[in-house]
């Protein structure tokens, strides 16, 4: 569904030295499969999501959506093709109501809005007339970010740490939300054990490169890190 070939991305640091963030990634994300991406802070997870969405341009490599080479497609074109994203850090606005954003995303009726919002545990009547601005709590904004992504719909869902900032009660709901998108291609950055457990494949990014494999095998490789309670460096 989404196929990346030899994808590389680097940045220049303050001393103008090149720093590789993604190095030569080749991965095939299959339809109907959930791929979880995990790895230490700064390992390039969000960078990969943004590269797939077209927000960052890779230095090298190609990205395919089905058999379409979308490497040079704009963000808008990718969105229209059917790629949806929920960012790690929600971007809020000034003076734009949640209702309007859900409409822009694709919700056609109050019912549609209600459906998307209830999937993220929010009551439409309490939220659609509120502004999507900095007055929302972090967790609320995060849930609305997810709701917009659901309203937008599509065939490929990119979720960047959807569990971050959401209270524990909701993690189970989040898991079922993801499970319910079962025929879609899901790429989800997460550190949450319950989410990793529903993944078909797990991709671990680290400073030396990456490793991808079936969930049961990969889960063992990250267990020691998970249980130490911090998302520290992987040795």
């Amino acid at each position: 569904m989404i196929k990346i070939n030899n994808l590389s991305y680097s940045v220049k640091n303050l001393n103008n030295e090149k720093k590789d963030i993604l190095k030569n990634l080749s991965i095939n994300f299959l339809p109907g499969k959930i791929t979880a991406i995990t790895g230490s802070n700064g390992s390039g997870k969000s960078t990969l999501i943004k590269t797939i969405m077209g927000i960052l341009k890779p230095d090298y490599g190609t990205i395919f959506f089905k058999d379409i080479n979308i490497t040079d497609f704009s963000i808008t074109e990718r969105a229209k093709l059917g790629i949806s994203v929920a960012f790690q850090q929600p971007i809020t606005f000034k003076g734009i109501k949640i209702k309007q954003l859900l409409e822009v995303a694709g919700a056609k009726s109050f019912n549609d809005m209600c459906l998307c919002l209830s999937k993220v545990g929010l009551c439409a009547k309490d939220y659609i007339n509120r502004y999507y601005d900095s007055n929302l709590s972090g967790g609320e904004a995060k849930r609305i970010e997810l709701a917009m992504c659901l309203a937008k719909n599509g065939e490929v869902f990119l979720f960047d740490e959807p569990e971050a900032g959401i209270d524990l009660w909701s993690v189970d709901n989040l898991v079922s939300l993801i499970k319910n998108l079962k025929d879609k291609t899901i790429i989800i950055v997460s550190h949450q054990q319950k989410i990793l457990e529903i993944a078909d494949e797990i991709l671990i990014l680290n400073d030396n490169g990456y490793e991808i494999g079936p969930q049961n095998i990969m889960l063992n490789k990250i267990k020691p890190i998970q249980t130490c309670g911090v998302l520290g460096d992987q040795k």
Binding site: M53, I55, S74, I75, T76, A79, K80, S84, V85, F87, I91, F93, K94, G95, I96, Q100, L101, V104, A105, G106, M148, K152
Partner: protein, 304 residues
Amino acid sequence: MNKIEQTIYNQTMQLTHQPSGAFSLRVNGQSAKQKSTNNIIIKQKQQKNGIDVIIKPNTQNESLHLPVILSDPGLKDSVYNDFYIGDNANIKIISGCGIHNDSNLTSTHNGIHTFHIGNNSFVEYIERHIALGLGKKKKLNPKTKIKLGQNSTLKILTQQISGVSNSNRITQAKLGENSSLIIEEKICTSNTEEAISNYNIELNGYQSSCKISSRSVAKNNSRQIFESNLIGKNKCFGHVECDGIILDKAKMYSTPKISAENSDSTLIHEATIGKIAGEQLTKLMTLGLNKEQAEEIIINGYLC
């Protein structure tokens, strides 16, 4: 009213018909229609253009609409309106001015509004400005002078919608004890338009407060200048927040000044000018909008 005048009326009043309550319509420098109520008395001034509006004490939840229309090109109209608002009143005043001009002549409207507000009153004042037509010289200069009594609140929403080639808005206020002034300003300029906005607020009364929030968008080659001076002369609180978006080759100058003349004054100013945040555009594009559509939504929201 002809079609053009009706359009101006609809946009500035956000109404299609004459509302109930007190009303005064001015068209092309003449008073065209006037209606007083028991509590709101409108009197034509004798010495100069304009009206005196007397709002009786204890007037509750009434409204006053004051549309001004300039559709004769080349007209220069100056009007002086004085509002005398009694104690314990609660009132909403909606004023608006629109110019239509297709010619090379200059149309100018100078609206000088003076508020004398008593004690314990709540006044909401809405002012919308617009100019239409192909002419390049459509000037609007609103001047607002305010005297706020004890425990009174004045809430102002001033909005320059579009098309005004030059505007120079001046707002001066003196605040009494425990009174509060809340100003929300929204200005949008494009092409070669120029908008100047100047505030001089004296926080004279004990525990008086003022909050000014200005949001503006400057497009194309337009220019905007914002200047304010909040002067704390007592234990008081003042806050100016200026937020500007510039696009294309526009220019924006912002000088929010605060002057503390009493050690118990707390005065804050914040000013930000910049392009539309790239990440906001990105977010909307991930929902399927193109860049132009995304910009439009962001700007409309910003100025709504």
